[in-house]
């Protein structure tokens, strides 16, 4: 049983800062696993552990995704190995280009039974790549999955829709996008982190997997943070009756 969990590498949103001109700065943000893909890796790890399968983490992106801390982080979460295609033109791709790059990477992995994706990426959240990847690989694809039961040659999955739970049987191989409700990603244990240091990561160039420059279809002209509302900075200190009264008077005035 070969399982592939796809993950995107994104700047850690905790450390993204907004400059005074509302530009977004990634300067201090280290690369990390896109939050939704933690669920995807966890789902892969649980299936691989239950069925003695082999789990591989696959990612594509600019050269900076080849980061030792990040790789160790992924490997401590269950995958036996990582395959990355890292080339600087693999940044700011559209979803179809991303799916194509992933397909090229996955073809290097070889045989697979199940490919898992997250519900969307933490930065753009287009929710397209999983579906397009299935199409490109010419295998069944289903999204919004929050339960997976693996059987011989097939999976039975559940999707929580607006007013019903849909149960679907899909023949393998297949591509499945999981929701963030499917599991609670593990906090790697000491031994898992230690073991991650011994696992392997293969880093390939675009050329190695036979893809040339896609040519940019997307041009980011500007990314701005929303304008901050000027606050009145009217601070009433203390908990005296007077302070409370003044607070209520002011609130009342605004509400009227």
């Amino acid at each position: 049983m070969n399982i592939i969990s796809c993950f995107k590498v994104v700047p850690d949103e905790q450390d993204i800062t907004i400059k005074p001109n509302r530009d977004i700065s990634f300067e201090k943000a280290p690369m990390t696993i896109s939050a939704y893909d933690l669920n995807c890796i966890e789902a892969g790890a649980q299936l691989a552990e239950a069925f003695e399968g082999n789990l591989i983490g696959v990612s594509i992106g600019a050269k900076k995704i080849d980061d030792s801390k990040l790789k160790k982080n992924v490997l401590s979460r269950g995958p036996e190995s990582i395959l990355m295609v890292a080339d600087d033109f693999l940044e700011d791709l559209d979803t179809y280009q991303t799916a194509n790059a992933l397909k090229a990477a996955i073809q290097k992995v070889g045989e697979f039974d199940l490919i898992l994706c997250g519900e969307g990426s933490a930065d753009l959240y287009a929710q397209q790549v999983g579906a397009q990847l299935g199409q490109l690989l010419n295998v069944p694809v289903i999204n919004s999955v929050n339960k997976i039961a693996l059987m011989e040659g097939k999976v039975i999955v559940e999707r929580s829709l607006e007013d019903e739970v849909e149960t679907i049987e899909i023949p393998l191989p297949a591509v499945i996008s999981v929701t963030s409700d499917i599991n609670l990603p593990r906090i790697p244990s000491m031994k898992q982190i230690l073991a991650a240091g011994k696992k392997s990561a293969t880093i390939l160039s675009a050329l190695d997997v036979g893809i040339g420059d896609f040519g940019a279809t997307l041009q980011v002209i500007e990314t701005k943070a929303p304008e901050q509302k000027e606050r009145k900075k009217d601070i009433i200190q203390g908990d005296s009756d007077e302070a409370i009264k003044s607070f209520i008077t002011k609130i009342n005035k605004v509400l009227k």
Binding site: I187, P188, M190, L194
Partner: protein
């Protein structure tokens, strides 16, 4: 190496732990370092300066490579009251000579750099893991317990900080007592580096260390501090725990008041607070050093209480490095003879005794007590200094008084004898 055993396990990825790990791995030992935060330095709060003499020995020219902020070439000490501030300002090219230089640091970046060094030397870094307990068999420490996992080692080194719960679990120390520790809070305030150069009268790359006694800690044992970083200022307040109970303000309020003091506010104008943190500071000096050697275990850095607060200078990081070096030497010696008993590991104590760590701690051993016993430093002298300065500099048109009388008036408020006594006691304790 078998998967379940290391030569050494180090608990805590601060300076003491990381340097110990680095030195051991460099000599070929199999070393694991376990850090509770997501990265080294993430759980750390420091005022902000490292005296380089200790680390310079281990990583020569480290300041060229490490993410240090500014070289400290200006030292200021102030006596502060609610409305005034009397400052001694010392700047000299004698400060900042290589070997005796010091640097302001932001430990988030600095510790990660140090951790990188350790990792390159072969240390297995495990971050985001809390060590819950130690494996102890027949009184001998044999490794660590973290969640469901256990890992064994010939020696375990505790570098888990001022409130070392592991040392406490071993029974090597009791609960921290309120007079042994202070509470420190710190803000990092971002300002363009040219603005800092101008406001603090610093050359590019050079900076100021500034300590305050008096109102920052509401007249209690403690004080305020400012260190200039490249493009930010570390500013904070420290107050001894047992005194804090008696203070009329909370620590966050002390910090707010310090920031809005007329002498401080203009320095921070336009700055943006980017980080707020709080931590315990070991302040007991030699008297709080717990048992630091046991069968299969050594304690280093803050966990061992290796820190001195002299009022005009605060040192902890160089002791962290110094104790790490002694511990590493002891472990290497123990490995040679395969003897990790407490008896053999006493060589750690001898190495410490011969190093600046114990020499300095012993030298200043009465100073923490002196500070605590001399509240006038914090609630008397700042006011006296401000009043004297007021008489000197404020011109009202009233007839002048003789200088002696003018000054003695203020001295008498505290009492000449008291001043002499405090001075004598203070100098003796140094």
């Amino acid at each position: 190496m078998s998967d379940d055993r290391f030569d050494a396990i180090i608990v805590g990825g601060g300076i003491a732990g990381t340097v110990t790990a680095y030195l051991l791995a460099k000599e070929g030992l199999e070393v694991m370092l376990v850090e509770r935060g997501n990265y080294s330095g993430s759980k750390n709060v420091t005022g902000g300066r490292i005296y380089s003499h200790s680390l310079e020995k281990i990583i020569p020219d480290f300041a060229q490579e490490a993410p240090v902020e500014r070289k400290i070439t200006r030292e200021k000490i102030s006596l502060m009251t609610d409305d005034s501030n009397v400052t001694i300002d010392f700047s000299s090219t004698r400060l900042g000579q290589q070997g005796s230089d010091s640097y302001s640091v932001l430990r988030g970046a600095f510790d990660q750099w140090l951790a990188g060094k350790a990792e390159d030397a072969g240390v297995q870094m495990v971050t985001g893991i809390r060590v819950d307990n130690l494996i102890v068999r027949e009184g001998k420490v044999c490794g660590i317990v973290a969640g469901e996992d256990e890992m064994e080692a010939n020696i375990t080194i505790l570098a888990d900080g001022v409130n070392s719960l592991l040392a406490q679990k071993l029974g090597y120390r009791g609960e921290l007592s309120p007079h042994q520790v202070a509470v420190g809070v710190k803000e990092i305030i971002e300002l363009p580096s040219e603005v800092i150069d101008d406001r603090f009268n610093c050359k590019d790359g050079e900076g100021t260390s500034w300590l305050f006694a008096g109102t920052p800690s509401a007249g209690k044992v403690g004080g305020g501090f400012i260190y200039t970083n490249k493009a930010s200022i570390s500013l904070g307040v420290v107050c001894t725990l047992c005194e804090l109970i008696k203070a009329n303000k909370t620590i966050p309020q002390m910090l707010e008041d310090f920031k809005s003091h007329p002498s401080i506010e203009p320095l921070l104008k336009g700055g943006k607070m980017i980080e707020y943190s709080g931590h315990l500071v070991p302040e007991g000096g030699l008297h709080m050093v717990p048992k630091i050697i046991g069968d299969g275990v050594l304690i280093v850095g803050d966990a061992a209480g290796f820190c001195i607060n002299l009022g005009y200078a605060v040192r902890g990081m160089d002791f962290a490095v110094g104790s790490a070096e002694c511990a590493a030497r002891a472990v290497l010696k123990a490995k040679e003879t395969k003897n990790y008993s407490a008896e053999f590991l006493q060589c750690y104590q001898s190495f410490l005794d011969d190093s600046f760590v114990m020499k300095d701690l012993k030298h200043y051993k009465n100073f923490p007590h002196f500070l605590e016993e001399t509240p006038r430093i914090f609630d008397g002298y700042p006011g006296m200094a401000a009043d004297m300065m007021t008489d000197l500099f404020v011109v009202t048109g009233n007839p002048p008084q003789s200088m002696t009388r003018m000054m003695m008036k203020h001295v008498k408020q505290i009492g000449l004898l008291n001043i002499a006594k405090d001075g004598w006691k203070g100098v003796r304790s140094l």
